[in-house]
Each structure stands twice: as structure tokens, then as C-alpha cells.
Symmetry: D2
Subunit: 291 residues, 4 copies
């Protein structure tokens, strides 16, 4: 889920809660607050806690709330993880620290994730997002980490089929699940063994992403493939080309409330907004024909 | 197709022809000589011509022979393209030149591919392989190039879903076809709109790759997905982890004749060879259960 | 300056202040707190404020105190900048935000740095450190930013001679100064027009770095070149090879107090520590011969 | 030295020889044919041999002629190396093969360079140019290779001070010499221990580069620093910004004969040519003031 801001950079909690209501109506069963597209790197510590609370308040207890609690330091991540658990998060998503790239070795990551999983009252999901961190996680590391009883999944936004297949092949998929991290690779990653996905495009087009997931889960690969193909341009335009500003603009096209990004991110320019509208119109029209 | 060498670096044409016979028996309908995994960058000009001739001699005229003719200079590519056509190639695969990376602009590539397509007596297929060239092709370039009547396809080894979907969405797929360039992304790329693939793993496991293609083409996405998943570790081990030495060793595991790579590539070490054998045994056993 | 931690990750303020005393004795005239090697990405907001206060308390008012206040968000950077000024910092060092790499455009950075420089009560120095951020600053951006009256310098840790020469050539060097950001490129960057440097090796070998600077400033390029060459292996070993753990271990070799890094950074292994000791012994012996 | 082409892509040997005469007049003592800026990747094998012959014919036997003979395959490099020696080259420059990046390991490179140095009748100089190859050479490899009696130097175009200082520190500089590979880092690299340089800018401004070298060699670091700084914008504009088209245009500004680049490289646009002229005018005027 995105974090809506107004022009002066303040969080609009009422818009945030409005969006959750829409997602619940659409049938979304799991929610992530404080992810990359939630602009967690731009949030103060106190804002993070309020967003977890606001999300839990609106999300039915039967549905899963994940919180992104990974920061650069091990102790900072542990602190936020515990606070998230206290506020009702069901699990945490922990991206790998990456500022000191050359020192982020196998041993450093093993110690980091083990300390967090040991300390966390709730399950830990590893988050691999090299487009932002610059440091892709290796399959050997992920496979070793799956042995920890409290490490329960991987959200992979790289779409690297080698990573996904090696992890799926070498882990107990009853205990450890892989989740696709990008709409553009949702079906391929599920084909490779992922259980589902946490994808930005679902913020703007929750019903289309749900339909793709359900088609795949029910064995209707033909329909899943059609939806994957029809939604691909939107998936590329949102986040890929236009970043979070694009995702937020797309939400407004679809009756949700994105607000603007926080600076240094700039709002979407008019021309890009028109391209986006054209892409969504075509996507919606093709999806309507499909069903 | 790989180019088999002996320990002193000479091409073993009889092994090359032996492999073609096996592929024809397996039902492969299209063949690529002088591709990346054919070690074209290590071949003399005269060797390239002999390999095209040897391939055409063994490949039935009803089946397609592609030749990789892209070298760094425009005029060198045109020369080799014409010579390939004279020797019976049905189309040429042209990777983008990439030594002077900063100068490989949209305009430079437009002029390069246009000059080649103008001069070539046979259709031209663009080849995008950033893992080797270091310069990924942009969708805007590819889309513009599809307008040339003699540019008829894209082999994409990047697996970038944004590139593939934008190209498929914006081109006349009757005239211009996308082909997956890596086994690890074969099904996902076909789901995104590709017609088929030219994938290294098919050199060692032609029947498995054909089965995947046919399952997809006949609408049996479930089976296609199963084969994709089962073959993923082999796809990663061959080329990805072990490079061409791995592909050649895998061919020998499967009754084909890879020979050794040409230097500076080193032959596979014993330990890696054992890992590979284990991966192929498991793959073959799982594929057997499937059918 | 580094931030010394103990094994449980707490800041050892008394060691931090001890080091400052040693640097003052050595004759260092400018001090940076909360830089990359100060592990600022691992510090809580409240810790950052305490470190600025501790530094200002020990550093004579005639000497310059810089504080690294760049975080990912514009508003967070402005907040910390103002707090640093209130606590006696003379200027702030602001690295470019870089999480959402593709959106960190010329316009986004112009707006970011302009907003900070407008709001800051003290001068702003741009900090380019692509080895950590993954996003190198372009000379066109830096040159445009030098026009702001409150943007007064660039610390460049890339060592890119094109960037440095273009910036020096196109700016009023009376108002805007370039500082080298790495010991390995200190003399070359001063030759290209930099005024001095902020370099990690000075934490462990302040006298050698001062000697290099003074030799250059007095026109004794021969001696400056000798010191540059003699210290190069230490510069590579500290930070480059071993990261902050190496820098902290080197400080202990030289009678300073580095403590250990905060996790996920791991302390230096025994073998690397011995290599480091050997490199420093040789450096010190060669420096002694020189004078 | 560049290879001048006409608009239809043919080598203009008379322009090539004209340039050599000018360089001899200027006092240049060493010459490289078939380097990166000689567009060796665009040359046919027979053209390479003719260029070596043409160069040797014009270059006095008391002066050194180097030939760039590195191609992707080990055996192709050995063949061209022997042919260059037969045609009078005094040493060969061998860049590292790099197409199959992941397989270009320490062992592969050791075997490659050892085989070439064993077979070559003339000394071998290693050439590190990661901006084009995408694969930087590691200092451990270079240091190990310096033990071969026929490997006598490194041309380094990376400007990486850690590489240069480690190589200089760990080799017998009487037998093995480092040469700077870029004008922008000529003085810094000599300060770090290099003996001289092979730099593109010398094709257009041979007297300025010689003056820089001689100032350094005679201990006049102040003057060397001034020339380094004055020539830095030209060094950045030639090759860096504009590539070989820029270098060739700059040669024409300076009374030499660059011709045009071979396709896919495009000739310089008028606007870039004007920028270049402005940069060279300012450089020449500042150099004139200096002496």
C-alpha cells in the first residue's frame, strides 16, 4: 500500500484508510504497509508506527497484515519489528541492508537475519529488491536462511528465474513460501513455484491482480496468461517508468486515493499522466472483453 | 547450436553434424548456428562460413536455419550476412555492437540495423543479449526497427518483461515475432506474447524444450508450467552457472557431442560436472513421472 | 570521524571524544561527524544529535565542524540540518538520496538541494559517493547547484577526474570548493583543483594526511607525490578492502579508539587484521624515511 | 593512433601516415596501432596487418611501435601477435577477452595471458579498459602475471588508484612498467608510480601531453599539475563525451587528419564540434600563457 501525502508532505491517514476499505471490498486478503512503494525510506519512526496502527484498525483480523521493518541497522530493524508486532502486524518484511555494499557478505547477512528472526515475535519474510538496494540476494543465502523456524518466506522483486527456482527447489514449501514482488513477473513467478505476490499494480488495479491470481490458482492458465499479458503495459508504466508518482496517479484514475509522493520524488507530469490514462483505458477495455 | 572443439582448439565438424542429426530426430524445427553459445566471438571468418555450410547440408530444407552474423562493424555484419544467405541461411540473427558503449545511441543503432536490413537478401532478427554485450536494447528502438520490412523478429535473452510486453503490444505480430532467448524464461516470455524460443538448454535437452513449447502451443499451460519448473535448475546450471563449458558437459550427459570450449574458456571441473549430472538426473526423473 | 560502538552496539562517546583530542593535537583543522564512515545510516535520530553536541564540545570554535545530515527525504534532511546548526555545526554535508534510483532526475535533485539550501542556516556541501548510493551526481547538476548562494562545496568520493575538472572549470572557486573524498585520490584531486579532502584514512593516520596536504599546499609536489604513493596501500586496505571494520582496526593500530562497527557490519577477522598491521608498519617505516 | 576512414568506410592510409609524421616532428617516442581508439574491433584481419606495416614504415626504428593484438580467443590473439612481431612491432598490447564475462575467472585469464606470453616473440603488455570490456582486471591477477618474463607492463585505462598502487608496490618496476591509459588521469597515475601513458588526447594534442610528461619527469610537478588541469576539459570532451568521433574531430582542429569513424559510430554533430572547438581554443590559449 502507498502512503498518501499532501503537497506539504504530511501523511493523509484518511486517504490511507479509504484505500484499505476499497481493497477489502475488492477481496484482497493480505496487506503490506511500509513497503518500498509505501515510501518507507521517507517516513519518520513515529509515522511508521501510526501507519501500522491505522492499517490494523481497518483490516479485518482474519486478513494478514505485513509491515516492512527493514532498516540499515540490525538493532533498528529488531526494534521496529517488535513495535510492529505489538501493533498487530502478522509478519514483517525485511529487506537487506545495502549501504555498505562491499561488506554485505554471506556472513553479515546470515548474522543480520538470524538476529532479527530470533528476536521477532512474529514470522519474518525476506525481501529481495535489487533495483533499489543494489545488492541482489544469492540463492545460497536464502536457502540457508529458510532453515530458521521463524523465517517463513521471500518476497522477490528481481524476477530472477534462477533465484526463484533454486529457492523453491531447495526448501520445504509447506513452511517457506515465495511471493512475486512485481506485477510484470507475477504469473511467471507463480509458474516457477511462488504462492502469490505482493505487487505494486494491485494498489491501482486490485481486481485485475486478484483475477490473475485466482485464474492461476484454479488451473485456468490460459486466462491467467491473458490477464498477465493485458496488464503488462500498466505494470511497466506504474513504478517501472514513472515510479511511485505513476502508481499514485494510476490509483486516482481507478477511484483510489494516492495523494502525491514525498520529496525528493516529484509528482507526475501532465504528459506522463495522459500516457498512463491511455494505458489504463486500454487495459480495462481488454479486461472487460476477457470476462 | 554449440561448436564442438577438440583440446587443441580445432572445430570437430563431424560432432557438429552428429548433433544436428540428433536434433532432427528429436523434432527440432529451427536451428541457429554462430550464436553466442556457438562461441562465434572465438571463430575465424572462414570457420564461420564452413559451419553455415555444414549446418545447411544436414538440416532439411523444410526446416529453418538461422545464422548469427552480427559483428562490431556495420560493414563486417553486412558482408557476413550476404555470405550466410549465399550458403543457404534462411535468416540472420544480429546482436547489437557494444564495444563503444557510450556511443551506441538510438541513432547509431537505427542506422546500423537499417543498413543491414537494406542490404540483406534474407530476413533480419534482432538479438538482445545484455549479459554479454553490456548494452540492453530499448523497446523504443526495437519498436521503431519493426517498421522495416526486412526486420522480422527479436530474440530476447534479457527476459525483461517490460521490453517484451511493450514490443509485443506495439508491433504487428503477424510480421514480427519475439523469441525467448533463455530456457529459464521460455514460458513466461511465451505468456507475454513470444512465439517460441532459441534457448541453450535445447542443445542438451531438446525433447524437454520441445515438450514445453508444444504444451504451451496446445493450451496445456499446466503441463507447460510443470516442465518449466522441472527444467529450471538445469537451465540455471547450464550457461548461467557454468557457461558454455557447462552446456557442453550437459550435452555429453545426454548423448550429444559438445567437445570442449575454445580458450580462454576453460573446460568444466570434475566437481561442477558431478553437480550437473545430479541436476540432470533429477530433471529427467521428474520429467518421466510427468508424462 | 568514525562512531565507536561496543560489542552490544552502544555508542562509546568517551572514545569518540578521545579521538577528537588526538586529532586536535595532530593539527587537523576540519572535522566531519555523521559521514558515511561515521555509520550515519545506522544511527538513530537522537544519537545523531548527541554526536554533534559531543563533537562541538571538544572541537575548538576556531576549527570547522561539518555534520552529515543527508537522509532520503527532503524534509528529514532539512529538519536534521536545522538541528545541526543549532548544535554548532558550521556547515552540513548532504549526500544525494538514492533509494528510488530511476526517479532521482536532474529536476528532483535540483528541487531537493535547493529546498535544503534555502532552509539551512549554515552552508551546504554536496556529497557525491556513488560507491554507496549507486547514483553518481552529474557535473551539469553540480555546476547548476553552485549558483545557489548557500551551496558552497562538493565532497567527491568518486575520484572521477572528468567530474572534478568540469566542476572546477565552471565554478567560482572563491565561493565554491571541491574536496577529495578518498585518500587514494587526494593528491590527484587537489591537482585537478580541489582545496583539500575529507578522507577516511585521516581517521587512522591524521599526520600523514596532513603532511600530504601541507606538502601540496606549499608547492612541494615531489614530497606530496611520495606520501600519496606510500599511503596508497593503506588507503586501499582501509575502507576499500575492509570497510569500516578495517578503518576502526587501523585506528587501534595507531593509538586511536575505533571500537567495533554496528551490525550488520562484522568486526575484522584476525587474518585481515594482520595484513592491515603489516601494511601500516611498512607505511610508517617508509614515511619515517621520507622526512 | 586513430585509423582514419573515408565516408564509405575505407582506411585512408595516406592520412594515417601523415599523422605519424606529425607525431615524429612533435617528439613522440612511442606509438600504438590497433588500440581501442584505433577502432581495432571494426578492422578486418588483413587491414590490421597493413596498418602495422604502414606504421613501422613511417616510425623510426629507434622509436617504439606497439600493436594491439588482443581479440576474444587465445589462439586468435597468438596468431595476430606473431604476425605483428614479423612486421616489426616491438611489443603487443593485449586487452582481456570479455564476452563471456562470468567465465573470465582468475584461472581463465592466467591461462590466456600465459599462453600468449609463452608464444610471443616480443614483450606483452596487459591492457585494462573496463569502460569497454565491462570486466576490470584485478590487482592479484596482474601481480601474478608480472612474474612471467615476457609480460612487461600494464596499460591501465581505469584510473583506479587502488589497482595502480597495488601493482606498483608489488612488482619489480625495473622489469614491469605501468602506463596510464587516459589523459584525464595521466599525472595522478604517474604520481602513483606509472612510467608514462598511452592516452587518446595525445592523438590530437601531442605537444601538450609531451609537455606534461616532461614536466613530471624533470620534477616540475607544479607545471605538470597546471597542464593536467588545463587539458582536463579536452580530455573529458575527446573520447569521454564524444567518443572516437570527438577525437577525430579534435585532430582536425589541430592540423591532423582523423577522417570519420567506421559505422556504427556516427560522425560528430555540428553542435558538438563547436563545443569541442571552444574547449580546444581555451586549452591552447591557457597552455600558451603557461610557457
Amino acid at each position: 500500500m502507498v502512503t498518501p501525502f499532501n503537497d506539504s508532505g504530511s501523511i493523509q491517514y484518511e486517504l490511507f484508510e479509504h484505500n484499505i476499505e476499497k481493497y477489502v471490498e475488492a477481496g484482497i486478503e493480505g496487506y503490506l504497509v511500509l513497503g518500498s512503494n509505501g515510501e518507507s525510506v521517507y517516513l519518520e519512526h513515529s509515522e511508521k508506527l501510526k501507519l501500522i496502527e491505522a492499517a490494523r484498525k481497518r483490516i479485518p483480523s482474519s486478513m494478514t497484515l505485513l509491515a516492512g521493518t527493514g532498516v540499515e541497522s540490525t538493532q533498528g530493524t529488531i526494534l521496529l519489528t517488535k513495535e510492529a508486532a505489538e501493533r498487530g502486524a502478522d509478519a514483517v518484511l525485511v529487506k537487506n541492508p545495502s549501504y555498505f555494499k562491499a561488506q554485505m557478505t554471506f556472513d553479515a547477512y546470515m548474522a543480520h537475519y538470524t538476529a532479527i528472526a530470533d528476536a521477532s515475535p512474529i514470522p519474518v519474510i525476506i525481501y529481495n529488491v535489487p533495483v533499489f538496494t543494489g545488492v541482489p540476494l544469492q540463492s545460497t543465502l536464502v536457502i540457508e536462511l529458510t532453515k530458521h523456524p521463524n523465517i517463513r518466506g521471500l518476497k522477490d522483486s528481481s524476477g530472477d528465474p534462477k533465484l526463484i527456482s533454486e529457492v523453491v527447489w531447495n526448501t520445504d514449501t509447506k513452511k517457506f513460501g515465495v511471493l512475486a514482488g512485481a506485477a510484470a513477473t507475477l504469473l511467471p513467478t507463480m509458474v516457477a513455484g511462488a504462492r502469490g505476490g505482493i505487487v505494486a499494480l494491485a494498489c491501482a488495479a486490485p481486481r485485475a491482480m486478484l483475477a490473475l491470481y485466482r485464474a492461476f490458482a484454479s488451473g485456468d492458465y490460459k486466462k491467467a496468461g491473458d490477464i498477465q499479458r493485458i496488464t503488462a503495459p500498466a505494470a511497466g508504466a506504474v513504478t517501472g517508468t514513472n515510479g511511485i508518482a505513476g502508481l499514485k496517479a494510476a490509483m486516482e484514475l481507478e477511484g483510489l486515493q494516492g495523494g502525491v509522493p514525498r520529496r525528493p520524488l516529484l509528482p507526475l507530469k501532465a504528459e506522463a499522466r495522459e500516457d498512463l490514462a491511455r494505458i489504463f483505458r486500454r487495459m480495462n477495455s481488454e479486461l472487460a472483453e476477457l470476462s
